[in-house]
């Protein structure tokens, strides 16, 4: 059983009050799945995602007394996770950090305008049954420089508003939208270029009959 804050534990470790423990358990129970999903999308692999989840909840546990409740708990956790991710990723090998310029996504000929993502009338859920497309999407997102990736993940994958993303990342809405547009253009180009390469190689496009991962 957890000791009270005034008692001195025999093992010399700082005491964990039962209230703190209860708060933590509730926080963990209600949000661990959300944070694991977010961490996977940010890190692109499960072991790093587990590290990030642990780091996030450890920081949340330590900082819970400072949480003023003027934001949603989930927004607070997203903020902690994003900061922890920035710290952790400095130690890891990731996509090189660089600015994405709009100019690099401007098509220079008609073919580039008309690049298509190989979905052929399928719903996104159906299309994503295809392992190749799923992996191509993950690879494209993982190639994004992290500040663009974070905005795309929070906005388009986690479904937060531009305002919420701004408050998590310390950006104004205009900057969020600008990064988001570049990130989407980047992923679009990666996905559609792959579709084009497939056609060139004589492979079939993804269709109901070729759902390899289904």
């Amino acid at each position: 059983m957890a000791s009270s804050s005034s008692s001195k534990p025999a093992d010399g470790h700082p005491p964990q009050t039962s209230a703190a423990r209860e708060n933590f358990d509730r926080l963990y129970r209600d949000h661990v799945d959300l944070m694991y999903r977010f961490a996977n999308r940010l890190c692109g692999e499960t072991e790093a995602a587990k590290d990030l989840v642990q780091e996030t909840f450890l920081n949340a546990y330590r900082g819970f007394k400072d949480f003023r409740g003027d934001a949603q708990v989930s927004t607070w956790l997203y903020t902690i996770a994003s900061r922890a991710c920035l710290r952790m990723r400095r130690k890891r090998k990731g996509a090189p950090e660089r600015e994405l310029s709009l100019d690099e996504f401007i098509p220079t000929h008609d073919g580039e305008f008309r690049l298509q993502i190989p979905m052929e009338g399928l719903t996104p859920e159906e299309a994503l049954h295809n392992k190749e497309l799923r992996q191509a999407l993950e690879a494209a997102i993982n190639k994004l420089p992290k500040k663009y990736k974070m905005v795309l993940v929070l906005r388009d994958m986690e479904g937060l508003s531009a305002k919420e993303v701004g408050s998590i990342m310390g950006l104004n809405e205009r900057a969020v939208k600008s990064r988001l547009h570049r990130a989407r253009l980047f992923v679009r180009r990666e996905l559609s270029a792959r579709g084009l390469a497939h056609e060139r190689d004589g492979h079939h496009r993804v269709s109901r009959g070729t759902r390899a991962g289904a």
């Binding site: 964990q16 799945d33 305008f113 994503l128 531009a162």
Partner: protein
């Protein structure tokens, strides 16, 4: 004597004679357009352009698909065992501070 262009050729020419400049302006706004962040007037202007420019229409379709794929991308789920193991590890680290 100048040759008169047929109507199909004429359409193809005008599609691109409206100039890449207009297309580029539209491309810059497409995420805002998809997210409903633009005024009704700008939206009307973009729709007018899209109706006359297959290039931009295709570009928009693929950008829309990109966003919808991101929205529906699956994510791995944590097992109950792993969830419990991680909780223990966090509490252990919190105590060891």
């Amino acid at each position: 004597m100048a040759k008169r262009t047929n109507s199909k050729q004429h359409r193809a020419d005008t599609e691109h004679r409206h100039g890449k400049g207009r297309c580029l302006r539209i491309l810059r706004e497409l995420s805002a357009y998809l997210d409903g962040d633009l005024s009704a007037e700008v939206c009307r202007e973009i729709r007018r352009h899209l109706g006359a420019c297959p290039n931009c229409e295709d570009f928009l379709a693929s950008l829309r698909q990109t966003v919808s794929l991101c929205r529906h991308a699956p994510a791995p789920v944590l097992s109950a065992r792993e969830r419990m193991r991680m909780r223990e590890a966090i509490l252990l680290r919190a105590r060891a501070r």
